[in-house]
């Protein structure tokens, strides 16, 4: 597989150097792998720190900036970062108002953020944690590592970041983050497997003419494989899987998210089908975001995330944000 890289060993460091050059608002520590908004710590504000394996860009580094994350810790490709990174990030962004860790529910992320929280608290930083676990494809939560954190991470980081920017205290920012997660559900499909730089060949075998339903964002295969479906059929399947799990009584934010190798032309077409299914099912949509936000390297495919919102949550979604990947109102 051809890739636009030098050598697999330096892909993360190379990308961080490039981010630093492109975004002067960010302080990028390439050696220690921490991306921090340059004006941190912001007096009187709770700081948000997230992180995870690389390969999901723009998540999380692309969401660092006013109105969203204070810092991000990129790990190796598809590998959670190490506790040292989170401890360093927390120390850099804590204004004294405390730090919220936004953690996607994967065994590695959970273990490393848990260790980091203990170490940061030893250093006098007040830490709260919120777990994102929105992927309805994982049905048997009791006998697995539990539902994965996917598209809802964007909603959690945006809404909790807006709450922090309003100067709300840590327990309120944490509670909003939890509310966003509890009201969000996602479902993803893959049209092709993913190729990691280290391996250089696809991580699973997905024949031409088939698709994988219920995939995660790490190139792990999903739960079920079927003959290729149309965009409309996929939208029916994905939205219905979500609505089986959550019956929104409030309007929803919609994220139609590309996995990395699916063109926007297809994503917008898919969004039309998603909106059709939601209308058929009587679900009101207040805002829609279409694009590549929580990706899986070069995987083709898409995920749908719904987040049902009350007035306060909608106001937090609309609040100003200025990051490399999301930017409005400021």
């Amino acid at each position: 597989m051809k890739m636009l890289i030098n050598v697999p060993e330096t892909v993360v460091a190379d990308a961080l150097r490039g981010m630093a050059a492109a975004h002067p608002d960010l302080a990028v520590d390439v050696e220690n792998r921490v991306i921090v908004r340059r004006d941190a710590p912001v007096a009187g504000q709770v700081a948000l720190v997230s992180g995870g394996g690389s390969g999901h860009e723009p998540l999380h580094g692309g969401f660092v900036g006013p109105g969203m994350l204070s810092a991000a810790c990129p790990g190796e490709v598809f590998t959670s970062p190490v506790p040292d990174q989170m401890v360093r990030a927390a120390a850099a962004v804590d204004s004294g108002a405390g730090v919220l860790f936004v953690v996607k529910n994967y065994t590695g992320d959970v273990l490393n953020f848990d260790m980091a929280a203990e170490l940061a608290e030893d250093e006098g930083v007040q830490v709260a944690k919120v777990l994102v676990n929105d992927d309805v494809a994982v049905t048997d939560s009791l006998f697995t590592a539990g539902r994965r954190g996917t598209g809802a991470t964007l909603f959690v980081e945006k809404l909790a970041g807006a709450a922090a920017a309003e100067g709300r205290p840590l327990e309120q920012v944490e509670s909003i983050a939890r509310r966003v997660n509890e009201n969000s559900r996602s479902f993803g499909v893959a049209l092709s497997a993913v190729t990691t730089p280290a391996k250089g060949s696809p991580t699973f075998d997905l024949p031409e003419g088939e698709l994988e339903l219920g995939i995660g964002i790490h190139g792990e295969p999903g739960r079920e494989r079927r003959p290729m479906m149309t965009s409309g059929e996929i939208a029916d399947f994905a939205v219905n899987a979500i609505l089986e799990d959550m019956s929104p009584h409030n309007p929803v934010l919609v994220l139609v998210n590309g996995m990395g190798a699916t063109p926007l032309l297809e994503l917008y077409g898919f969004n039309a089908e998603v909106q059709r299914v939601l209308a058929e099912r009587g679900v009101a949509v207040v805002r829609t975001l279409v694009g590549n936000y929580v990706t899986s390297l070069d995987m083709a495919g898409a995920s749908v995330t719904l987040c049902q919102v009350d007035e306060e949550m909608l106001r937090l979604w609309d609040a100003p944000v200025r990051t490399p990947a999301l930017r409005w109102g400021m």
Partner: protein, 199 residues
């Protein structure tokens, strides 16, 4: 009796073994995980090798504590905290003695494996590193060779199991028929211990 040098050679032998087997670990991980177990373990144990040479800890406990800390700081994923905890707990249980006996090591390793089970929440049969480590600890009373055989058998015996922990668990029934990468690297760690003891 086993001294600090023995434990340093054990870690170095593990690093060499992980280097040799990295592609196999990654191949196993691409079947039911995300295809990075080999490179992650390689990066971690390379760092262990370097730090042991630089800092030259002088007791068995200190060698394992430092190795565990280094794995936590460099590996990431679930393997970093889990292998880090295994070595740190084992090292802690060995205390500050300059030399330890085989029985003492067996007891300490049992404490290490219990630490892994508590942190990861895994039990025997969940298709994880525990499936190689626990039988190895049980067999260690009968010698290092027996421990190696038990670990290798434990790793092979994960093939028909349904994964209940970690990333492979998302596959449900489809995780059946593949050997667990974590159990496989755990068997390498135990085999390196036996290799070191045999000289």
């Amino acid at each position: 009796m086993l001294d600090a040098d023995f434990f340093r050679r054990w870690m170095t032998a593990t690093a060499a073994s992980v280097d040799r087997e990295a592609d196999r670990l990654t191949a196993l991980d691409s079947a039911i995980g995300d295809a990075d177990h080999g490179s992650n373990m390689q990066r971690g144990f390379a760092a262990v090798r370097t730090t042991l040479a630089d800092e030259a800890p002088d007791t068995p406990g200190a060698v394992l504590m430092l190795s565990g800390r280094q794995l936590i700081s460099t590996v990431g994923g679930a393997s970093g905290p889990l292998y880090g905890t295994l070595l740190r707990r084992t090292g802690k249980a060995l205390g500050e003695a300059a030399e330890v006996g085989e029985e003492q090591l067996a007891e300490a390793l049992r404490a290490g494996v219990q630490g892994v089970m508590k942190l990861g929440g895994a039990a025997l049969g969940d298709k994880t590193m525990v499936d190689a480590l626990l039988p190895a600890v049980e067999a260690l009373g009968s010698g290092f060779g027996a421990a190696r055989e038990a670990a290798e058998k434990g790793a092979k015996d994960t093939v028909p199991l349904l994964a209940r922990k970690g990333r492979a668990s998302y596959l449900g029934e489809r995780s059946i028929g593949h050997q667990d990468p974590g159990a496989t690297s755990s068997a390498l760690l135990i085999a390196a211990l036996a290799e070191t003891a045999e000289g």
